[in-house]
Structures are given as C-alpha cells and as structure tokens.
C-alpha cells in the first residue's frame, strides 16, 4: 500500500517521511530508506507526477552540472587553478578549460588568474565524490575585473534573476551597473559608486522579501524611489 503523507507546497524538515511505498520516487532533496521517502533538507514539497521533489529553503549551494557560477581563485597549481565556489566543495579549473589563449609550457599561471581573482565559469562535471570541474570556455565566461562581489543566499538566486532575467535586467537598468549572478549565490556588480550601493541594497531587499508576492513590482517601486532621491 502506497501513501503520500504531504501535499504540494508543504514545508517539510529533514527526516520527515514524505511517502510510504514503492509507487513514488525520491527527487532532489529527498531519498529512499526502505519503504519510506524521507526529506533530506528544509524545503517546499513539489509533487511532479510520481516524483517527490523539494525546493530548498535554506542551506549551502551544492555544485550541479551546467550551472554558471562565480568562483574565487584560492590556489594556483601546476596544471590549473583551484576555485572556491561558495560551497563545501572547491572546483578545479584546468589549464585546458581556462582560456582560448595559448598557454606556453611552463608559463606563469598567475599572469592569467591570480589568487583572489573572481571568474565566472560553468560546472562541467561533478563526481559522486563531489570533485568539481569547471570550464571558462563559453559565452560570457571570463575574469571579473573591477567591481565588487557580494554573497547572497544561493536558494534566492532564482528570485534575484527573476522570470527570464526580468528582475536582474531591471536592476541593471535602474542602477546602470554591470551585473552577473552565479548560481552559487555570488553576485558581481560593477558601476558607479552610487549605482553599486543601490544594487546591493536591492539584492538584500529581494533576499528579505523573496517569499512575498508581487516582488518585481515592489523592487521596481523601490528602485524608482531611490533613483528619484539621487536625482534630487
């Protein structure tokens, strides 16, 4: 006999039994133990056919294939760079994947990316042991020069980006800043001093109010108000 113990959009905590029986499958954020499907993190239930998924409400970023993230160079090796990914696992950027430029044998790798530099990159492989490989070959993947990098909660990233990038492009327009949001919650902002501050403030506001409806309108109002006071 199979039974689902939860409804769609319920909030569940780790260890909660979501369903009993073999008729359902564990999705992201849940696992099977014997007959039971159990939540592994705090999140919102999403019933997708016979799969039970969780949308995480808290927790660190966990690297996933094809995610575009912002990494910080923490080490330079013989054959590449080690990046901090704002997650429990560091990523490896190999020389081959780092640039389309030719790197001569024995070249000083710090000439390309030095310790402390931020780069945008894409996750290409995550092993079961969570060894992460990233690439910088692709559109918009580059070293982030100037500007600042701030840390936001990685599970709020979809809110910060908005539907088809609506939120982020609105902030970009209002603050006249260049911005890039990594799936790991790091946000790169570069522009005028006032614009950068406004962008940071807007992102903090999104993080705080992400659960409320009509978020885009609220942020739009907030930005317009702030922009008016700057013009004055």
């Amino acid at each position: 006999m199979s039974k689902i113990n939860v409804n769609d959009k319920d909030i569940v905590i780790p260890g909660e039994v979501l369903a009993v029986g073999m008729d359902n499958f564990p999705g992201a954020g849940s696992y099977r133990e014997g007959d039971n499907i159990i939540a592994s993190r705090l999140g919102l239930v999403q019933l997708d056919g016979r799969t039970i998924k969780l949308i995480p409400l808290s927790g660190r970023y966990i690297p996933k294939n094809y995610d575009t993230i912002i990494g910080k160079v923490v080490d330079v090796n013989m054959n590449g760079w080690r990046l901090d990914t704002n997650s429990p696992y560091s990523a490896m950027l190999s020389m081959k994947e780092a640039t389309s430029q030719f790197i001569a044998r024995g070249a000083d790798l710090t000439k390309f990316y030095d310790i402390g530099d931020y780069v945008s990159c894409k996750v290409i492989n995550v092993t079961s042991q969570k060894l992460v490989d990233v690439t910088m070959k692709g559109m918009g993947l580059r070293k982030l020069r100037g500007g600042r990098v701030i840390q936001a909660a990685s599970n709020k990233v979809p809110r910060i980006v908005g539907k088809e990038g609506s939120m982020i492009s609105m902030i970009k327009d209002a603050t006249k800043c260049n911005m890039m949001v990594g799936q790991n919650g790091l946000v790169w902002i570069s522009g005028t001093p006032e614009g950068e501050l406004l962008a940071v403030e807007a992102i903090r506001k999104i993080e705080e109010e992400s659960h409320l409806s009509g978020l885009t309108d609220k942020i739009k109002e907030f930005l317009e108000q702030k922009n008016k006071s700057i013009v004055k």
């Binding site: 030095d114 402390g116 931020y118 982030l144 020069r145 100037g146 600042r148 001093p193 006032e194 501050l197």
Partner: protein, 257 residues
Amino acid sequence: MSNELREHLIRLFESNIRLDGRKFTDYRPVKVEVNVTNTAEGSARVMIGKTDVIAGVKVEVMEPYPDTPDEGSIMVGAELLPLSSAEFELGPPGQKAIELARVVDRGIRESKCLDFKKLYIKEGEKAWMIVVDICTINDAGNLLDASSLAAIASLRNTTFPEYKDDKIDYKKKTNKKLELKDIPLSVTVIKIGDKFLVDPDSDEEKAIDTRLTVASLSDGTLCALQKGGDYPLTSEDIAKMVDIGIEKGKELRKLVK
C-alpha cells in the same frame, strides 16, 4: 589579497565614498550592552555593524609580582573563536589574537586609569588580579576597536565579589566597584592609498596599507599606539591619524557613559 579589490576601493575613494557607502571617518552603528553574563564580575557586548565581541571580567586574588609588592594587576586575554570567521582556527592563540589582547591591555594599562596600588589587599602577599577575557562572536572587521570598547565597558561595570578569610565568594557581590579614573579608548585609523579611514570592514581590512591604533583619554591625552601593516608612515601621516583617532575616541566615549 586581490589587487582587483584594492584598485576598486581606491577608485571608490576618489569620489569620497566607501564600499558600503560610508564617509571616511564614519563608524558603522555601534551598540554597547553591559552586564550580559551573570558569572562574570563585569561584562559587555559590543556590536559595530556586524562585528560582535563579548568581554568578561573576572577578579582573582593572587600574590603580587615581586617587583611591585604593593600593587595588583590586570591581564587581558583574547580568543578568536572559529565561529566568528572562516579564517580563525582552533588551537593556541595566534599572532592576531595575541596582538589584539596586547593592544587592548596596553591601552588600559598605560592610561593609568586603573590604580594598581588600590588593588592590593596585604602587601607582598595578596592583591587583586583583574582578568579581562575577550571573545569574538563575529568578525566583520575592526575587532581591535570593538574589543577595546568591550573591555573598557565591562571594566566600568565590574563589582568586587565578597572576600572573607582569604577566600572569595563569587556568588556574593558587594557594592564595591572597580574604580576607573577615565575611559581610555582605542580607535584604529587605517591608510589605503593616500586616504585615512576608521572602522574598516572585512574587505577594507584585506586592502590595508597601514593601520595605527590610537588609545586616548577624554581630554585627548595619548596613552598608547600600535602600528600594523606592511607600509611605512611619515610623521605627518602619524599626526593626522592621531588627530582622527582622538576625535573619534571622543565620539565613542559617549556610548560607554
């Protein structure tokens, strides 16, 4: 330290603005709470922005040092808890923790606000030892100023426990307060490029050229200095930084009163 960040900071400073929008000589919001623990004879919690520090004072009775038989003493210890920053590790105190404790200690000791002669109980045999312990709860920059503020705020609220027949009863508190003649306060002034700033946040701390911790009294008397960072300072620089330090010290002092 990333050069990108430093260059970005200097670019911002050109238009008289800091990373978080403050002016050069602005502190983040400072909050001081006193008597936050029951077991300490005096305690204080100081929050500067997101930086959070707790200081506690214990008084002990010990044998005075042989060279000062009629004096008590003060001892300051600091612990940088691993929970307060990703950079702090468990284990014996490192360079940063020792410097922090010594700067706070020196600021108080050299101000002569604490009369050691009043701390002795029996000459050559018994004297009060004031032990200040500083714990960092969160490091978001400027631990030096936060710790010195917490230490002095806790000392000002210290009461002696009952002392009878050579024994201290920590459970019984007396009305006798620890006397302090003045409030010595440390203000750390940092130099990045050619600009002087107070109250650096974590990012600014990483981009520091030099820092000078200025401890002063309410009338502007200088009691201690500590220089850090890799670059030298000219005498004009030092004069400017001391002026800023004394000025900001006066502002902070209002919070302790």
